[in-house]
Symmetry: D2
């Protein structure tokens, strides 16, 4: 059986947009998507240039996302899904436009910068019944899936302690002073990204990953935010304590000033039977530690592991897969769900655990709770579920 490729459009992702490259490589790897339309830039000219480079028909490059949503939904063989890789503050209107046009949405995280918008977008996404996938790609790594499987299978027993870090070193020094560093200019400008961009950018990944693997909601947070780099106008380090729904406790360390770290994303979960650790830098390994002194590292790609892990491993047996493959995994799962939707008009995805608008909403609530706690000198703040 063959299926036609999924036709997608993209909003954002023009010249210099780093994360859009990862999205496109993730789509290409398993060859299940074709990029056929887009608004790649606010400038139509730049957008057309990008279209040439990306092999997109110039007739399907639009002046605005509204126009694209309208015309593509009206068109025969128009796009089935849109990928939104614009700055966070535009996610809400763009996503709404496409959902209202009956087009599935694949949206970069965080879902929105504003809590009210997050609540509304979640409601809209739920009510339309379309696929809404938030691209928390880290939970699509094969061994993160394996970890989630093991936790649910009881390998750790009851969860007690969760230690999560997303402590990057990317902004260890005044990168915002480099005029060529557009990422820095945008992310470190409080006017554009708020003072808690650290939590929006990295903290939401840590939050989603913890929830995904542990199966526990984060119910309360106590936050200590700090600015390490002199002259910086946003927070660049966060020491967070969390309480989980089952009573477990933990810490999330989120930073962009962890000098000497690269991306610094890892988690450790401790249950009453064993503990488990995973590090994004070495994603093909997953380690379980047992109280009898065994530290058992499981290597990706063996038959002994879960179906989910197997499905998301392309080569296996010592041929490591990395970050781009995590995007490809996510896009592969999204493709499965969209293909089923064609037949069933259902967006449910129990065996394809995509991050959804609910994850997006909880992530934005988490950002706001961190902000509130910090402003109250670290008081514990609840997060509505």
């Amino acid at each position: 059986m063959t299926t036609h490729k999924i036709r997608v459009g993209m909003v954002g992702g023009g010249p210099g947009a780093g994360i859009a490259k990862a999205h496109r490589m993730g789509m290409r790897l398993d060859d299940r998507y074709e990029l056929v339309a887009g608004v790649f830039s606010r400038s139509l000219e730049k957008s057309q240039q990008a279209a040439v480079e990306l092999g997109v028909d110039p007739d399907r490059v639009y002046e605005s996302y509204e126009q694209m949503a309208l015309q593509e939904s009206a068109r025969e063989r128009g796009i089935e899904a849109v990928v939104i890789v614009t700055p966070n503050d535009s996610h809400f209107p763009v996503a709404c436009a496409f959902l209202e046009a009956g087009i599935h949405v694949i949206c970069d995280k965080p879902m929105t910068g504003d809590l009210d918008e997050a609540e509304r977008l979640h409601d809209i996404a739920e009510s339309r019944g379309l696929v809404f996938a938030l691209t928390h790609n880290y939970s699509a790594y094969a061994m993160v899936r394996e970890a989630a499987h093991l936790v649910r299978a009881g390998a750790l027993g009851e969860l007690r302690i969760a230690m999560v870090e997303h402590a990057s070193g990317w902004a260890w020094t005044s990168v915002e002073d480099d005029l060529n560093n557009k990422q820095a200019a945008w992310r470190l400008d409080p006017a554009q990204s708020g003072t808690t961009s650290l939590i929006s950018d990295l903290g939401t990944h840590a939050h989603q990953l913890l929830r995904f693997v542990s199966g526990q909601e984060v119910t309360e947070v106590s936050a200590e935010l700090n600015t390490c780099v002199p002259g910086r106008r946003v927070f660049d380090d966060a020491q967070l304590q969390v309480r989980l729904a089952n009573g477990a406790r933990g810490s999330l360390w989120v930073s962009m000033a962890a000098t000497g770290h690269e991306h610094g994303l890892r988690f450790r979960l401790f249950g009453d039977k064993a503990s488990l650790e995973w590090c994004q830098m070495d994603p093909h390994y997953l380690t379980l530690n047992y109280p009898d002194g065994r530290r058992e590292t499981r290597v990706q790609g063996h038959d002994s592991q879960s179906d989910d892990q197997a499905r998301l491993t392309r080569i296996g047996l010592g041929h490591p897969e990395g970050f781009i493959e995590s995007f490809a995994n996510l896009y592969s799962d999204i493709a499965d769900v969209i293909e089923r939707y064609r037949d069933t008009a259902q967006s449910a995805c129990q065996d394809r655990p995509l991050p959804t608008s609910r994850d997006g909403l909880l992530g934005v609530r988490f950002v706001k709770a961190v902000d509130e706690s910090h402003n109250a000198q670290g008081r514990w703040v609840s997060i509505a579920l």
Copy 2:
């Protein structure tokens, strides 16, 4: 500036062909190739099925490689290059057919199973002046390039000792008894693959990688071959000693019976200033050890590293890239060379260090020397350069 994608055909790579998938994913990642023709199987029916899955026009699926070479070379906008992923014993005639038709060749390793064919193919490739790339993908890992750069820049000083391992565990037990395991059936049958398929398959990778990184030729070898798994009819373990052109010594351990290993590819080089190690399982790291007690691991993706490393890193800074990316790196370099050829009709590639027919020829000579040494009780055997 934009360039049209490189039009390629493929010989081999039908259902179940593992390595062809890696080739195709490698081509897709950076979107510089389009697969437009093929003989994917000896069975035309299976070949047509594969074409549908791969999105190849059925009119460009051929009954034989000879036909494909003829018709594509005659066609306007025919293929510029062919990817050969057939069993080793057919590499020679297939490669010759396309070279003679003026089509660049991208050929899986080992170049041939027969030394005489290797000699002739090398001569033909040289004389035609086309691009002939052998897909030793490991030397295209970014940090292997970094290693080669460091060695040439003198970071190790004069090379003294080389320790290379390609000690896989894939055939640790009687996998050939599993009728569903077609890889095993083929590779472990002396009638199809010879008794030294271990050296052809894995040993040639180790040999090429050593030569690539060290910049030294392997001039002599002393071999001890063994069969570990009872009942097996080919050698599954090889302990090799080597002498290098500059007088350095070393060992190559090549195995498919290294129980508990996955792919087991790594190298360590010791000079008179420092030593260096790299492991394919963790390819984004490269470690230099200094006599003053510093063990310096360099992480892929930093500006402080070589241009070659930078060029072959897509995301960087803690977003690991793996095996598929190594294929993509190789295909990216091949694309650069083919694009230049369009303008210059030159296949030279000094700054794009592709494995060529010379590497293929030396690899086959190495296989033969190992065989000869083993049959002479480990006598040292010279390898012509």
Copy 3:
């Protein structure tokens, strides 16, 4: 030049006293002490038995520490120093008795269980001018000394973030239910050890180690204490946030319920130039991470390292030293200071950085501040310096 061995007595350390063994092995390794007197147990009979095993003259086994302090101080060639390895709540009276008798004190940590006693003991120790060494052995590891040296030499630049863990797994399950486990019975009984024995036992090590290496005082703490193991009557997990004197922030995770960990002691310090990490489990390594992508692990025992490191390395060059050697290092430094005292009647020790009564006092204040913060729902509590 030779010096006579230092004559020591011991209070505590009879049958089953684990840590006393480490003290005695630490004293023996470099052969600079002789154990000549003791009150090894509350039972004189058990004390005498221990004396026989330890080769101590039965005439110098005493019924009480008071008697021992009196008689040894009066005796010609009496003990010069006493080692106190009794339960924490008796450290105060025992230490006072010997200090008042003019005998140097080597006291197990924490200094006392009671803050008032700690304040008084510190005053007495200061005013008597004798050697008072608290056996925080971890800061005597050679590579911890190296770390402290590097921090002071500016290798990290200005400290920003400190992440310290003493997350043991020793009490991961209800070890207190095992009647043979006397350690557990004692440490996990709130009546004997208080509900915050976790902080006294392990937290004070983490606190001292952080202060020692960073050179920064801990000025404020916010604490979240928890009991993971059902039925347990003391806290077994602590998530602590700290503020340091220079404005740096950090987290201390202290646990005895970290399933799958052994001793779990490690620190990471991040400055504005580089970061540094050390793990007690692999104490002969120290890693510096630089923002240019180098992770530099320094191996104990090289000339390129600090004098302090060199002095505390016995064999070096790949012959690892461990926990017992850390005690030996501490006892070696104490011996140096006591030997100087013989000549100078000065207990100052700038180049032998022994933990003193001030470290003990700050440790007890830290325990109390943690307790107070937890009781106030994690409010930030200041620690007097």
Copy 4:
């Protein structure tokens, strides 16, 4: 029950003798020996100085080992054992003198420099029935004992491949040109140590360790010796292939020119069920690798491990023990055997697997076989068992 300490004398071990320090610290750690006599140097004056430092009665410092053997054996409460830490070429006469005087011998390795002497010493040691222990300390590491236990318990299945390295970097450059480096002067002078001192010094450790852990004898060797450092007059690198009694194959890499290594001692054994690896640099870990993708590192000091491991662990649970403890372990086992001898006049030691004169003899035969093979261009040479 108490036993008196074992009275030992020492031959060698005066000022600057590195390994003698390790012997003495090994004896001290568990306090079961007292050093009461010695010939510490050829110079009586230096010997007396050493005695003062070591707390040895000057009346029991002798002019010659012959005198010491005679007088101590005649004396009431004379030494029960002698520790021989002289240069290799004097081991034979010294050991003979003490064995003939009825005194147990603890002899540094290699047993002798000369094969004929080794044969004779083995005969004498066997016929006298005294304890003769060769101080191959590495096989006394707790996790090496655990490894040997696991191999015998079938954890690996049938052994197939053995990869052993003792590749030190200590002589990576012309250390023999440094006049203050007495170790180098002695070990790198062919007149004093022969051209194969590398094999005597380090190779015999690798050989004994392989035999000890695997339970397999080395029956044949093929050797390639080399001199890396220009101007050096002895071999400093050896690439050895071996065949074991059960048909397994393997490689031993022995070097003193492995730049950037410290001591470089490690082994990996591959069976038909699993593989196992241990590294002296991190001796408290032992890793088993399984074909299902689990890499299981076992940490020293857990109840789940063998009795032998438990007996040789002092603290455990994350308090690492190292090189000095390996000597202490060996001395502890020797003490057990000597104490039994007091009662039984038997030196048998099945449950205390000490290296004996047979190990010493096989080691010297191994050295000679390596030399012979190298001189015959790597021809396979048999080793008599």
